[in-house]
């Protein structure tokens, strides 16, 4: 692996050691790294990637009569992602049913991410600017709810949102409304539930990058007569951007494929990608189709993550 050092201009990581010894050291370091990486990479490769290749194979096969697949080549599942044979005239038409499901899923995941960011950003900033011992207390407070089972929390949200639920009762008592609002089984209920569930995935990376925020830069901003909002927009946000990106990705990915919360709070009237995939493996009995949709979704997520990975690697190189 000596090639590595000639690949990129050597940038020292801060450890001072003689240049000459570095090649031998590199080789030893490489070996050490491989050993360190082995457990995680091996188990994910064997138990994560191998099954995935089965899914890939399935997506190119034909559905069997009653669930499962027939090992015969067929590109139908992939074509179906964008086009479908019309139910009643057999023409090949754009698959509008799927398009709207894709669009809805992306929108819901986006709404969820924004909601989590809107709540998570101020919260993590607030926590990060407390005195250290207070900080821990706040983090402690934020973490505790996530130790309750997610399904139970979702169920509790249902108790709050339903027609005779806590929220409606309070609003009725206060005279703000006179008939109960239908809150449950709406897009808002789903977004709220998802944001609630994935909030820690947003707060943790945000807090991590805010904790190390250099407030001398913020102070410099004020010295240059920036307003609080300007400082926030021009100094703080750019500095914690990696945290924002990481948090958003972490929130977005599970939200776009979510199945459990969506089906509990959404009332199941409109399909999302997660339910669509689950249905192909369920009552629609079309495993190849389910595999193809899932892989399609995965490819999108993969591209996003790959870009993120490149950025993060590039960033840590610059240090």
């Amino acid at each position: 692996m000596a090639a590595t050092s000639s690949d990129a201009p050597v940038q020292e990581t801060g450890l001072s050691r003689p240049e000459l010894a570095s090649r031998a050291n590199d080789r030893a370091a490489m070996r050490r790294r491989l050993m360190l990486l082995a457990p995680a990479v091996l188990i994910i490769t064997i138990c994560g990637l191998a099954p995935l290749s089965i899914v890939l194979a399935y997506s190119w096969m034909q559905p069997a009569e009653y669930a499962g697949v027939i090992p015969q080549f067929s590109p139908d599942a992939w074509i179906n992602l964008a086009f479908e044979r019309d139910l009643f005239s057999d023409e090949l038409l754009p698959n509008f049913a799927y398009y709207s499901i894709y669009a809805r899923s992306i929108m819901m995941a986006g709404m969820t991410t924004l909601l989590a960011l809107a709540v998570g950003f101020p919260t993590s900033y607030f926590i990060a600017t407390r005195a250290p011992h207070r900080r821990n207390l706040w983090l402690f407070l934020i973490t505790i709810p996530f130790w309750t089972n997610l399904l139970i929390r979702t169920f509790a949200i249902m108790l709050i949102l339903r027609d005779e639920g806590v929220l409606n009762v309070i609003l009725l008592k206060l005279g703000i409304i006179d008939t109960p609002l239908q809150l449950l089984f709406t897009n808002w209920a789903v977004s709220y539930g998802l944001a609630y569930a994935y909030l820690p995935l947003m707060v943790m990376p945000l807090y991590a990058s805010m904790e190390k925020l250099d407030f001398r830069l913020v102070e410099a901003g004020y010295d240059l007569y920036a307003s609080r909002f300007q400082v926030l927009r021009r100094v703080i946000i750019p500095l914690v951007k990696p945290g924002i990106v990481a948090g958003s990705i972490l929130c977005f990915i599970p939200a776009i494929g979510d199945y459990v919360i969506t089906s509990q709070l959404g009332g199941g009237k409109r399909m999302m990608l997660g339910t669509l995939i689950a249905m192909q493996f369920g009552p629609a009995r079309n495993w190849p189709q389910g595999s193809a949709i899932a892989l399609g979704l995965m490819i999108i997520v993969l591209i996003a993550l790959f870009i993120y990975a490149k950025k993060v690697v590039a960033r840590s190189n610059m240090r």
């Binding site: 009569e65 669930a67 009643f88 049913a97 799927y98 499901i101 339903r162 027609d163 009332g267 009552p283």
Partner: protein
Amino acid sequence: MSHFLKAALVGFGVIAGAGSALADGELHIYNWGNYTSPDAIAKFEKQYNVKVTLDSYDSNDQMLAKIKAGGSGYDIVVPSGYVIGQMIEDGLLAKTEPNQMENFKNMRPEFVDVFWDKGRHYSVPWQWGTTGIAVNTDVYKGDINTWGLVFDTPPELKGKVNVVPEMIDVINAASFYLNIPLCSDKKEDLKKINDLLVKAKKDWRAMEYSTIENMTAKNFSATMDWNGAAMRERLALPSIKYAYPKEGMASFMDNVVVLKNAPNMENAKLFMNFIMDPQNAALLSAFARYDNGIKGSHEFLPKDMAGAPEINPPADFKTYFPPACPQKVAETYGKIWNNLLK
């Protein structure tokens, strides 16, 4: 780190070594969730000194996915009738010949020659029921015995109707309402079903499985539902009534079958015989609130159940178990369903 690793290794050792060997044998049952009477299981365990484990699924498809993959380790599953034919064909089931068992004499004669298992060579009835509508009669005062409540929702119920997201049940109900034969492969019939569902959906509040919860919490005022669930709802909220739509309705039957590679074959057979005893069958019904297929079990039922309208259909009612549709039709159903839920 090495401490962690040691702890982990020790831990795995503990898990591997754990396992109770208290009973003579074991029996692994895989059944629908909240469907198995704990009393019946306790009785079986005591009677035969067998340790029973019970796991649950929430759809035939979820169960099938697991069983078809192989190596599930279960002895008994409880699929709906229309799934069993295919399971037999796929060689998943053991031919246990329940018709030779001691308690077979108790089975109601109309359930012996069912289309999925003529003469009962593989399966024994667990519970059977009907798919109708549960209505809160405080909210809706009109005639409840019609699918029109779901497909041409009256104004009082608009935005308060739920439909269980069970594709086959919904499409069958729509077929009854439109007077179309089930599993029809005629394009114009399928188009009619599609149009009806798309139009009707606008008036639905949700498509949810959790009907008991939502009906008793008054989130829904009417829902397509199964009779056992409707009974549980009525017991919690007396204004809820179960409707028998005049256009026709389908019945379902869930059956105990034994898997071909069952690790505890003999215990599984014992269990089959066990549930054909009227007293034991009544235990199952008392819990799940559905009827069973066993003669003489009604006299052992709890009082609130024996005369219940949900398990005593009107005189002119005929049980009808719709078979599974051919793949081609099922595929089109899938598309109609996708289109409905888009």
